[in-house]
Structures are given as structure tokens and as C-alpha cells.
Amino acid sequence: MPTRLEDPMTDVRPQGSADPELAIKVRGLRKSFGDVHALDGVDLEATPGTVLGLLGPNGAGKTTAVRVMATLLKPDAGEVCVAGLDAVREATALRERIGLAGQYAAIDENLTGLENLVMVGRLYGMKRAQATARGRELLERFELTNAADRPAKTYSGGMRRRLDLGAALVAKPPILFLDEPTTGLDPRSRLELWTTIEELVAEGTTVLLTTQYLDEADRLADTIAVIDQGRVIATGTPDELKDRVGGQRLEVRLSTKEEAPIAARALAPMGDEPPRTVGDTVRVSVARRDGLIVDAVRRLDEAGVEVDDITLRRPTLDDVFLALTGHVAEIADDEEEEAA
């Protein structure tokens, strides 16, 4: 016999389990496009005033996740709570509290910088004068004052991204979504944008950033979630993730592959684990320190080995990614064996 215990008048809690401690809380998020599972059960968390980095290759599902959190897409399943608001049921209220800057500068190239910002401000419900004042403030902040009255099509790539970020900040949103904000930017513009993002976080903004670049996630993110094929395969601080990948890798290519065993013996004391040899190349994982290459060259010279090329590689996204997916696969294999 069904009984109804709750009194609808007294139950005023929001339907989503809003957690005031978290600026972003995603549980079991799924989204498919036809047969493609773009998001296959994603969990994410960000505390207020921090940067959560979504790291992953193209097609991993990063953009889909951002689009769901920014109310542009409805999830198939799961709970998406941003700024304490449910992204589906309370989408309208949530739009007042988020800013979105995408992979492409979403600005009207035929409008001036100021006109772009005023338009966005008025669409947030500001009066024209208020929107103009806010627009000028943002142009000042992003060093676009001199270009304020020029059509945006005359702007450089870096200026467009700054204007785009300005548009996302018009309503001073507590949550900012940045979808690959520096893709396609030159190194200088990239650094400037990083500095701006750091300033915003220092002022208390929570940022969700997607990126393909480890260095970007490394510099900006407090927490990184590595995404692949619609799943979060690792979460942690940048240092935690790098520890899982290991340190740097020393690669020595020899003149003749017959000398490889000698070279491997000479380099063995430097490595965390025994060197591996493939043809004429010897690879060894090394802890990061100064003078590595000099040390390696001296050892090889003492052993009388002729060297063609010697390189020291830092972990790249590829390394992190390969290491992480490899690790996950091993665990899965072990579990299967145990179960058998």
C-alpha cells in the first residue's frame, strides 16, 4: 500500500542534492549521440575558487561535458550541479551565474569590441548605460581600450580571445567555463591569458578549464581530471599525475647497435629502473635534476660508446595519457584474472 509521508509544503529542498561546499558537482553523467557514448559515466568535483582542469585528447568528451554543465546540452543520465543549481531543472537561474568562453572566439566580427560587450551585457538584463560602463571596464582590464571602437574583425587572434573572455565575464559570474581557451594562440597571447585566468581565480572565481596541453593544466589547474573515451580515467593534482607517469626519459641513439648493452650498463646507475634497448636506441627513466645530459655523456664517453644523438624528454600529454590508459588496462586485466 503506497503511503505518502512527505508534506509537499514543508519540503523546500532543491531536488538536486546541492552541496554548498562544491562549486561543481557531477555524478554519473552520461550523454550519447546515436551510438557514440560521448560521456559514459563522468564524475567531477570542484571546490569554489579553484581550477578544475579537464585533460584529454580530441574527442575525449571534454567539450560535451562543458556543454552539459553550461546548460547547452541535456544529459541522458546523471546529476549535474553547478553553483548549487541543477543544470537541467534550474537552467535559467544557472545561466545568470556562469560565463562560457569556447574554442572559437564567439564574438560578432562586424561589431566593435565595445558593441560586443554591451550587447552581451544587455542580454544579461543590464540597462544600456550599465552595460556600457561594464564593457569599458572589461576592455580596460584586457588592454583593448585602444581597439574599443574598431570592428572585431580587425583584431588579432589573441585580442579576439581576450574579448571573448571579456564577454564571458560581463556578469561577473562565480563559475567560468573555458573550453580550450588557448588552442591556436601564439605563445605570448597564451601566457597573457594564463595570467588573466590566475587573476580571476585569485578573486574567487571557480574555473573549469578543458585543455589538450599538459603544461597548461600543470600551470593553472588545482585538480586535473584526465578524460578518455567519455570516462574519467584519473583525477589528482598535477604533481600526483606526473608521479604516476614517472620522471623524464633519457634517450640515447648509438652509432652501432652492437654497443647498446655497453651503453645500457653505463647508464644503468642513473635510472630509476633498468634501461630498455630497442635497436640502436637505449631509453632510461630518470628523476629530474640538473646536469643530467652532461653526466650521461661523460658515462658513455668513459665506456667508449659512440653516440649519434642524445635527448632528454619531459613527460608530455602523450606520456601521461599512455601511462594512465596502460595502468587502467592492467588493473582491469588483473581483476579479470582474479575473478577467473
Partner: protein
């Protein structure tokens, strides 16, 4: 509701301001119809047999070419919306706490302004080359209103088109393929009596014919039948069907 109105005005203003920054587009808008009028009147005009009740081909043609032109006015909406979609602007608009229908309502409202401009230019051209009104001020204004209403309805068709296709080029081609036969298999350029029976059957039920006949009734005092009310009904029906479809599409529109 007041939010819908104010957001619509902001978007309409944006679209009109950006038009002034793309003078080539504005030129295409104004020069192309003038060119069409001149070509039709001077190249085909002498060869087309029109009913005795008309005082020359210019008088027959102008209402027709105005209707064709107003149907094409919505092209700017298709191209503009598709460009906004590709550039991520629609994503931005959809992430803002603005009225859902405002982006499309503002876009189509801007078309009314540009349509008015091109109707005026075309009518002045017509007056120069031999068209003359046989109508009261009220009938002239009524004809203008009818044209703009029909153009507004077509802007919603083009809004849906712009949100459905993958590129502005595709919007352009598909729009032409759809609108050209509709305007040519109508009473716009030649009397439907001169067409083979199958085409004539189509031409007589074609809303473009109904609208052209209504314009001729209002502006050059030709027999109207039910065409004025028919034209209003068609315009309203197109809006009632296509505006909700376009807005529904907009709400699910995905950039790129």
C-alpha cells in the same frame, strides 16, 4: 514577456548595426533587385503577352518582382544564423539568461527593416521605368504591409533553414532551389494562362500567385477575388508553423 521584447530589440539592433559594417551585402540587397527589374522589363518585357487591363509590362511585373524580392529578403537570416552557429555565437546566446526566442525574433525583425528598404528602392525604380499606382493611399499602405508580413513569414522559413544546414553556402543553394521555382511558377512574371496545364494548376494554388494577385489588386486595381485575405492567411499560417519549428531547433542547436 517584456524580457522577450527587450532581448529581441537588442538582437535586432545588433543585426542592423553589423549590416552597416558589411556594405557589400547591403549593396547586393539593393542592386540585385533593381537589376532584375531592368532585365525583365527591357529583355523579356516586349515578348510577354499580358492582359489588356495592364498598362505595359512594368505595371504587370512590379508587384510580381516585389514579391519575389521580399521572399529572398530572408536569406540574410539564413546566412546570418548559420554563420552565428558556425562561429559559436549561438552557443554564447544560449548560455545567457535571455529569452529563448529572442535571437530568432530579433534576426527576423531586422529583416523587416532591410525588406522595407529594398521595397522602397524597387518601387522607386519601377516608378522611373513606367510603373504607376492606380490606388488610394490606404491601398498602397495595405500592399506595403502585406509585402512586409509575407517577407516576415519567409524570414522564419529561412531561420529554420539556416539552423538546419551545415554551412552558409548550403543555406544559399537550398534557399535558391526552394524559392526560385516557387516564384517563377506563379503569376509573378507571366500570366498563368500561358503555362502548360500542370504548371498552371500548381501556379494557381501557389501562395506566391495569391500574394502577387493581392498586390496587383491593391496597387494597380486588378480584380482581387479572395487573394488579399488569402495572402494574409498564408503569411500567418507560415509564421504559425515555422516560428515554433525554428525556435525548437534553436533550443537544440549545436555549434560546429
Amino acid at each position: 514577456m517584456s524580457r522577450l521584447v527587450s532581448d529581441t530589440m537588442v538582437v535586432a539592433e545588433r543585426n542592423l548595426v553589423r549590416l552597416t559594417r558589411a556594405p557589400d551585402l547591403l549593396l547586393a540587397f539593393t542592386v540585385q533587385p533593381v537589376m532584375f527589374v531592368l532585365l525583365f522589363v527591357y529583355v523579356f518585357g516586349g515578348a510577354i503577352i499580358i492582359p489588356q487591363t495592364y498598362d505595359g509590362y512594368a505595371e504587370f511585373l512590379l508587384p510580381g518582382i516585389l514579391v519575389q524580392n521580399i521572399a529572398f529578403g530572408g536569406f540574410v537570416t539564413a546566412l546570418g544564423l548559420n554563420e552565428d552557429l558556425q562561429k559559436g555565437l549561438i552557443d554564447r546566446f544560449r548560455s545567457l539568461p535571455m529569452a529563448r526566442a529572442a535571437v530568432l525574433a530579433g534576426r527576423t525583425l531586422a529583416d523587416v527593416v532591410t525588406n522595407t528598404l529594398s521595397v522602397v528602392i524597387l518601387t522607386l525604380t519601377g516608378l522611373i521605368i513606367g510603373f504607376s499606382f492606380d490606388a488610394s493611399i490606404i491601398e498602397i499602405a495595405g500592399g506595403l504591409g502585406l509585402l512586409l508580413l509575407f517577407g516576415y513569414a519567409f524570414s522564419w522559413v529561412f531561420a529554420l533553414l539556416g539552423l538546419l544546414v551545415s554551412s552558409p553556402e548550403a543555406a544559399n543553394s537550398l534557399g535558391f532551389i526552394a524559392v526560385f521555382p516557387l516564384t517563377f511558377i506563379s503569376s509573378a512574371f507571366v500570366p498563368v494562362e500561358s503555362m502548360p496545364s500542370a504548371l498552371r494548376w500548381f501556379a494557381e494554388i501557389n501562395p506566391f500567385t495569391i500574394l502577387v494577385d493581392a498586390m496587383r489588386a491593391l496597387w494597380v486595381d486588378q480584380p482581387a477575388g479572395n487573394s488579399v485575405w488569402g495572402a494574409v492567411a498564408w503569411s500567418l499560417a507560415i509564421i504559425v508553423i515555422f516560428a515554433p519549428l525554428a525556435v525548437a531547433r534553436y533550443r537544440r542547436a549545436a555549434g560546429r
